[in-house]
C-alpha cells in the first residue's frame, strides 16, 4: 500500500497546474465557452489546445505508434483531473479510441487514434435508442450487409456530441434474426454520411444554460436518424456480431477515471470553499454545527469516492481485471453526488433554487443546476441498479434470478 502519488507524478501535477494557471487566459476560456462541449471553438482556443498537445497531454496512456505518449494511466488521470478541475475535457473518455485500440485493425488504429488525439476526429456514442437505454441488448437499429457496404436504418437517441462529432461509434444489429447481445456490431460511421439526420434534444439545463462544472450540465443532446445510410464494410470494428464485447472494452472507461470522479465530488469541495468565504451568511452557516456535521459527512463520502477511484486505478496499473470494483465506484460515487447535491440544497435554502442567470444566484447557480442534473449520473453508462446487480453477482457470487415463484 502506498497512499500517495510518487515524486514524478506530483511533479507532473504541478506542471499541469502551472501550465493551466499561466496559459488558460480569460480570452481562451471565453473562446472555449462560446464553443460546444469543449470541442468546437475558435482559433484562440485551438492554439491553446495545440500547446496542450505539444506537451504530450493528450492520448497520454495510448501507444506511441498511434500518436499517443505511451505513459501510465495514472499520468493520464492526473492530467485529466487537473484540466477537469479547470472545466476542460482533455481526451480519453468517450472518444471511441480505447475500443479501437482494443479491437480495431491496424488500419483503423492508424486512421482514427492519431486523429482522436489531435482532436480532428470526435466520436459521438451511438448506443441508446428510444426503446432501449439501460438494456442495450434491445437494440433495433439495423445494418444490412450489401456487397462491400452496410446499409443502416434506424434511430438513436441521447447522442450527446452528435452535433460536434466527426464520427459515430454506432452499435447496430447486423443479424436481424438475433436477439439480445448476439448479432450486434459496432460501425465507425462518418457523421456526414448521406441519410443521417441530427435533431437536437434540449435538456433541462438549457434555459438558462448550466455553468461550467455542473455535474451533467449538458444543455443539448441529440436524436439521430439513419435513413438507408450506406457506409463501406471497412467501417466495421472487430468481428461482425461481436459488437457487445467490442463496446464493453470502450464503455468501461466511462465508468471510472477522473471525469466520473470529479463529476461526483466537485460539489463537496465547492460547498466547503463557499462556506469559507468571508461574508456574513457564509460565516453564520459555517458556524452552525449542524451544517458542519453534514459537510463533514459529505467530505468523508467524497474521500470514499476518491479511494474507490484510486482502487480502480490501482487495479488498472497492476494490469488486473475488475471484479466488482468499477461497479462499486459507479454506485457509490453518483449516489454520493446526489446526496451531496440535496444536502447542500438544505444548507443553502432558497438560494439553492436560483439558476445561472438569476440575480442573487450562489456560485453562478452551479448548486441549483447540479440539482437538476446530478440524478443523471446514476443512470448513464450503466444505471446504479444494473451496477448493484453486478456487484452482487460478481463480487459476492449471488445467483441470477430464475423464474420467480409467487412472492406473496
Amino acid at each position: 500500500m502506498e497512499f500517495a502519488f510518487d515524486a514524478r507524478e506530483d511533479s507532473l501535477r504541478r506542471e499541469v497546474q502551472a501550465f493551466i494557471a499561466e496559459e488558460l487566459t480569460a480570452a481562451i476560456r471565453e473562446d472555449i465557452d462560446a464553443g460546444e462541449l469543449g470541442v468546437q471553438f475558435g482559433p484562440i482556443a485551438t492554439a491553446f489546445f495545440d500547446k496542450v498537445r505539444a506537451r504530450g497531454w493528450t492520448g497520454v496512456s495510448w501507444p506511441v505508434e498511434y500518436g499517443g505518449q505511451g505513459r501510465t494511466a495514472m499520468d493520464q488521470f492526473i492530467i485529466e483531473e487537473e484540466f477537469g478541475r479547470a472545466g476542460l475535457r482533455i481526451g480519453g473518455a468517450g472518444t471511441g479510441a480505447p475500443a479501437i485500440l482494443a479491437s480495431g485493425t491496424e488500419e483503423q488504429k492508424r486512421a482514427f487514434v492519431p486523429g482522436c488525439i489531435r482532436g480532428d476526429i470526435i466520436f459521438a456514442q451511438g448506443y441508446s435508442e428510444p426503446g432501449c437505454g439501460t438494456d442495450l441488448a434491445g437494440i433495433q437499429c439495423r445494418a444490412t450487409r450489401v456487397g462491400d457496404t452496410y446499409v443502416i436504418r434506424g434511430q438513436k437517441t441521447f447522442m450527446t456530441s452528435a452535433h460536434v462529432a466527426t464520427h459515430i461509434f454506432l452499435m447496430v444489429r447486423t443479424d436481424p434474426a438475433s436477439r439480445r447481445h448476439a448479432g450486434l456490431s459496432i460501425l465507425l460511421v462518418p457523421i456526414d454520411a448521406a441519410g443521417i439526420t441530427i435533431r437536437p434534444l434540449w435538456t433541462i439545463q438549457n434555459d438558462p444554460v448550466a455553468p461550467r462544472g455542473t455535474t451533467y450540465g449538458e444543455n443539448r443532446t441529440n436524436e439521430v436518424f439513419f435513413d438507408d445510410v450506406v457506409v463501406p464494410a471497412s467501417c466495421l470494428l472487430g468481428e461482425e456480431g461481436d459488437g457487445w464485447n467490442v463496446a464493453q472494452r470502450g464503455l468501461s472507461i466511462d465508468r471510472v477515471g477522473a471525469r466520473r470522479y470529479l463529476m461526483s465530488v466537485l460539489r463537496d469541495e465547492d460547498i466547503v470553499n463557499w462556506l469559507k468565504k468571508d461574508e456574513a451568511p457564509n460565516r453564520a452557516l459555517r458556524a452552525d454545527p449542524v451544517v458542519r456535521d453534514k459537510v463533514a459527512e459529505l467530505w468523508i463520502e467524497g474521500q470514499v469516492c476518491r479511494l474507490l477511484t484510486m482502487r480502480s486505478m490501482t487495479i488498472a496499473r497492476r494490469g488486473g481485471d475488475f471484479v466488482h470494483e468499477a461497479s462499486a465506484e459507479k454506485v457509490f460515487a453518483p449516489e454520493h453526488g446526489v446526496r451531496a447535491t440535496e444536502a447542500i440544497g438544505q444548507i443553502l435554502g432558497p438560494h439553492a433554487q436560483l439558476l445561472s442567470s438569476s440575480p442573487e444566484a450562489v456560485e453562478e447557480g452551479v448548486f441549483a443546476h447540479n440539482l437538476l442534473g446530478a440524478f443523471q449520473s446514476t443512470i448513464n453508462h450503466g444505471s446504479v441498479q444494473v451496477m448493484r446487480d453486478q456487484i452482487a453477482r460478481k463480487g459476492l457470487g449471488l445467483p441470477r434470478p430464475g423464474k420467480r415463484g409467487e412472492t406473496v
Binding site: 441508446s128 426503446g131 432501449c132 437505454g133 439501460t134 438494456d135 441488448a137 434491445g138 437517441t157 441521447f158 434534444l201 434540449w202 435538456t203 433541462i204 438549457n206 434555459d207 438558462p208 451533467y216 443532446t221 456574513a280 451568511p281 453564520a284 452552525d288 449542524v290 451544517v291 446526489v338 440535496e342 440544497g345 438544505q346 444548507i347 443553502l348 435554502g349 432558497p350 438560494h351 439553492a352 433554487q353 436560483l354 439558476l355 445561472s356 442567470s357 438569476s358 440575480p359 442573487e360 444566484a361 441549483a368 440539482l371 437538476l372 442534473g373 440524478f375 443523471q376 446514476t378 443512470i379 448513464n380 444505471s383 441498479q385 448493484r388
Partner: protein, 379 residues
Amino acid sequence: MDVLPDEDEAAIQATAEDFLAAECTPALVRAAERDAARWSPALFARIAELGWLRLCLPEEDGGDGLPLTHLAVLFDVLGRHLAPVPMHGTMVGAITLARCGTPAQRAILPAVGRGEARIALAIQEADGSWSADALALRGRREGDGIILDGAKSFVDGFRESTHAIAAFLLDGAPALALLESDAPGLSATDLVTTAKDSSASLVFDGVRVPASRIIAGAAPLRLLMDLAAAFLAAQMAGAARRATERAADYAKDRVAFGQPIGAFQAIQHMAADMLIGAEGAQLLAREAIWRLGEGLPATVEAAQAKAFANEKCLAACRSAQQIHGGIGFIEVHDQQLWYRRVAAWAHRCGTAREHRRTVAAALLDQQGPVRLDVPLVAE
C-alpha cells in the same frame, strides 16, 4: 381521530382532481413558464369561478366558512397538477388577515374570494433564513404610518399579485404590512428558479404604509409562516405522489431485460419508498393544517411537515426521474416539470435544518416528559 378526508373534503378533492386533470395540463404549465408573467390568469379565473378561493374564508368576509382541511386537499391537488396560479401566497395571506386583521384590513378578503386580489408573501431576506429572528427590514414611524427602507427576497408570485404582506421590525418586534404591489417606492427584480415560476427580490425605497395597514406582534407573523410551511408541504406531497404515480405508469410500459421495468424488485422497492415518502408528508401536512384550522398551536406540526417534505418529496421526484432514465433529462418530456418545481419548493419556506431546530427546541427546552401523541407547543 380520522386522518382521511371526510365526505365533503373528498368531494372537493374529486372535483378539483377532475377539473385540474382536464384543465391544468402539462401544456398549460409549460405555457405559463414561457409567459413573461409566469402564471396562468385564465386558470386562476376558472379556479375563482369554482369558488376555491373563498372556500375557507369566513362567511362574514364573503367566504364559505369551511374548515381549513378543505384547503389541505386543494393544495394537494394543485401540487399534483403543478397549477401555475398564486394560490399559496394568496391563501396564506388571506387566512392570516381573516384571523389577525382589523375589519378594515379584512376588507380585501371578498376580492380575494373572487380572485381579484392576489397576495404575495415577503418574509425572507437576502440571507435566505426562514426565521422571525432574521428580520432586518425595519419600519420607521412617520406621522400616521411607517416608512419601509430595505429589501426582501424570495417573494414568490409577486408579479401576479395585487398585494404583498411584508414582515418587518417595528420598534424591535415583528410586524406585518399589507401593501399594494404597485406601492410607490416598491420595486422588484425577477429571480430565475428551477421552478420557472415567478419569484422576486424587492427593494423598499421609502415605501409608506399607513398605520391601518399594519398588523403588529409576533403571533400574526408566526401564523403566516406556519400556514406557508404547511400549505407548501401539502402541495409538495401532492406533487410527489403524482410524480410517483407517473413513474409507476412509465415503469409498467417501459420494457428492459425482457419485462416491464416496473416488474423489477429494485424499481418496485424504490417506488414503494416514494409512495411512503409522499404519504408521510401528506399526513404531516394535513395534521398541521387541521390544527391551524382549529386554532390550535401548530408551529411544531408545520415544521415537521415541511422538514419531512423537503427531503422525502424531493427524493420521490428525483427517483421518478431515475425511473424515467434519459428522458427525465429532456425538456420536451413532461416528467421534469414535477422535479423542477419540487426542487424549488423544497427550498422555500424553510429548510429541513431550520424546521428541525424548531422541533428540537420544543422537544428539549421545555420541562416535563414528551409523548409522541401529545402535541408540543413551540416557545
